[in-house]
């Protein structure tokens, strides 16, 4: 087992993938593991194991019916490599959730140490959730925020302790039959974050969740629900990694967000899955009067990503923003983008997409901008820039626009560029290697987005880009 793993790492697509370690011995230590494949029995087992209320049990079974009935999407990326029968849909690694890193089993604690998470928690985070396989194994929120009534729990605890809120919202922003993968998530979801920020409370430091897939052929289906009440603010950050295996894993999350009047929510993703993960995520937010919703979406890892964070601007003057970086390296296809629907008058939105493709990879932008009749005085701007690093790589832009109101102001810009020989020569003439010079140009290209990130994340993002750039030069 251990030697197979060694070979897999060596064979890995990105040999320098820093998070490629796994813990090969822990499979036998799992507290609970479902068999491979998906069925009503598996769904029943998950629900029963979790001791869920009847309505949730039915919600899951109904969702599975939807999943089984829906065909695979025929657009976007190639998903034919997903073998639903070979996936483990539920693995519970520990019996109990910890609120101190020391209480975790050593092998699991070691994983988080390697990822630097306990350190980050001490330095700049207001709260941390850490999900390993299907369950959140660690959870902690600063005491003062708890005292102010902020709720930051894993989704399963959220359901147990605040069933009324979960029941009120779950599946209302993203219906269980929204798309095949949202249906699958609704059937087998486990873990994820449940956040409620009471009126007027501003959570100044980010809340962060880390998602780690450790087992081969694992399916991770976390479910996140964030409610930002009136005049409240929260910045939620998620990071994702997995070891490199020769066969694929699946990550299919659903994230639903409600931002009430004058509230503001920023959701930042630094997706750095290993290159054997299918990452198919549905994210959608609704923003009411004068509320602001911002998705900052950095997609660097995975084999295939299909993700289009959406914002419905439901109240007057609501503002939505999608900032998306997609980096498609060798063997990767990043089908990323965003979707904004202007429902109410005088709403505004900005979508900024930066995609980079390299070594035969594909990265692109797929977006929908929709303005409903009556959303008078709305404004939107879509900017999508693509940087293609070599002849083998590819970038696609699909900017769909659907406008049913005439009193609107829309702007759309798109550019496609290559790294200029002159720019490279200029930087190299100062002593930078070709890889360093290219990485610098790429970092500059995504700067309009990284400058929006808190310093620690901007540094991390630039470091990841550097790794991608060095990845397979030559």
């Amino acid at each position: 087992m251990s030697s197979t793993h060694e070979t897999d790492v060596v064979r890995g697509i990105r040999s320098d993938y820093k998070y490629g370690f796994s813990n090969p011995d822990d499979a036998k230590d799992y507290f609970f593991k479902s068999g491979r494949g998906i069925s009503h029995e598996v769904v029943e087992a998950i629900s029963e194991h979790k001791g869920e209320p009847e309505w949730m049990r039915q919600f899951r079974h109904k969702s599975l019916d939807y999943f089984l009935a829906r065909p695979m999407p025929s657009w976007g990326a190639d998903l034919s490599g997903i073998d639903f029968e070979n996936i483990y849909y539920y693995i519970r690694p520990t019996e109990k959730q910890a609120d101190s890193w020391e209480d975790l089993p050593p092998d699991i604690k070691d994983t988080w140490d390697k990822l630097g998470i306990p350190e980050a928690e001490k330095k700049y985070l207001a709260g941390v959730g850490a999900q390993y396989e299907s369950e959140v194994v660690y959870h902690k929120l600063q005491a003062d925020l708890e005292a102010k009534g902020v709720l930051f729990l894993d989704m399963d605890s959220g359901l147990r302790e605040h069933e009324d809120i979960v029941k009120q919202y779950m599946g209302t922003i993203i219906p269980q039959n929204d798309n095949k993968f949202a249906a699958l998530n609704s059937a087998v979801w486990s873990g994820g974050s449940f956040i409620y920020v009471p009126p007027g409370v501003r959570v100044e430091m980010p809340l962060q969740a880390y998602f780690r897939i450790n087992a081969e052929n694992m399916g991770q289906f976390e479910r996140t629900l964030i409610i930002v009440d009136e005049d409240a603010y929260v910045h939620y950050v998620e990071g994702c990694t997995a070891p490199i295996y020769s066969s694929d894993s699946l990550h299919s999350a659903v994230v639903e967000i409600v931002v009430k009047p004058r509230g503001r929510c920023r959701y930042t993703t630094i997706q750095n899955w290993s290159n054997n993960v299918y990452n198919l995520v549905t994210k959608r937010a609704v923003a009411y009067e004068d509320a602001t919703m911002e998705w900052v979406d950095g997609n660097l890892g995975s084999k295939v990503t299909m993700k289009y964070p959406a914002i419905w601007l439901m109240g007057e003057r609501a503002h939505g923003e999608v900032l998306s970086i997609a980096f498609g390296g060798k063997g990767q296809h990043q089908d990323a983008g965003g979707k904004v629907v202007h429902v109410a008058p005088r709403t505004s939105s900005v979508i900024t997409s930066k995609s980079i493709s390299k070594d035969g990879g594909r990265a692109g932008y797929r977006g929908l901008l929709q303005v409903a009749k009556g959303a008078v005085g709305s404004k939107s701007k879509v900017v999508c820039d693509a940087l293609i690093l070599d002849e083998e790589s590819r970038s696609d832009t699909y900017p769909y626009i659907q406008v049913d109101e005439s009193d609107v102001e829309l702007g759309h810009e798109a550019t496609v560029s290559k790294i200029g020989e002159e720019q490279l020569f200029y930087l190299m003439s100062r002593g930078l290697s070709e890889a360093e010079a290219s990485a610098m140009i790429v970092s500059g290209f995504v700067e309009p987005i990284t400058k929006e990130l808190p310093l620690e994340y901007a540094v991390e993002m630039n470091r990841l880009i550097q790794l991608q750039m060095e990845g397979s030069v030559g």
Partner: protein
Amino acid sequence: MAQLEIRNLHVALEDGTEIVKGVDLKVDLGQKHAVMGPNGSGKSTLAYALMGHPAYVVTDGQILLDGEDIAELGADERAQRGLFLAFQYPHAIPGVTVTSFLRSAINANRKAASGGEDDPVPIPEFRTNLLAAMEELKVPRELASRYLNDGFSGGEKKRVEILQMAMLKPKIAVLDETDSGLDIDALRIVANGVNKLVGPETGALVITHYQRILDYVTPDFVHVFVDGRIVAEGGPELAHKLEAEGYEAFGSNGNGRGPS
């Protein structure tokens, strides 16, 4: 042997057109050389070829830096060995600030100097040096946090080229028409920058059309460059003669690629 020795250098474009047609030139530490020539005579081509621009092919001859033939090396390796080119038309790098660019460039050179081991410059030291150099060259503070050459005026670009030179402290600095586009105050400041750098550790090759910069950077040697060749050499007085008589006296027909 001089720090930089160019021997019988021939440079062609990728389509085979020969632009530099046999140049011999020696620049030693502590020396200031001026290369003066009309538009299109091949001065920038010579400078690019020295620095290793991939579009200019050395078809014959040698470029020796500290005795080593560098004609096959990449631009980065030449820079790491102490060669610097102040560009006639510097390129913009959007999204990369002057400060972060300079720090990366210095670190790349330090890494090369320590045999490939990372040896980043301590931030306080870097800041002190940068602020001093900016003060010296009267580069406005706000320029340091702007994106490199992005939207810079012509004069700002030239000043930032000299700032880079001052920070990187090359052994041989080639300045390609750094004087053009500068107002008289800027010219004086830039010239002072060059004068300050040239010394026991550095020599300079100043490419220009005009006498103007040479009033401030008094050259030890002047080379008149016409149609890909050095056609006359002398001391500072040669520059004055050129200014008075023009390049035609040296066989230029006034439009590059002259009769051969």
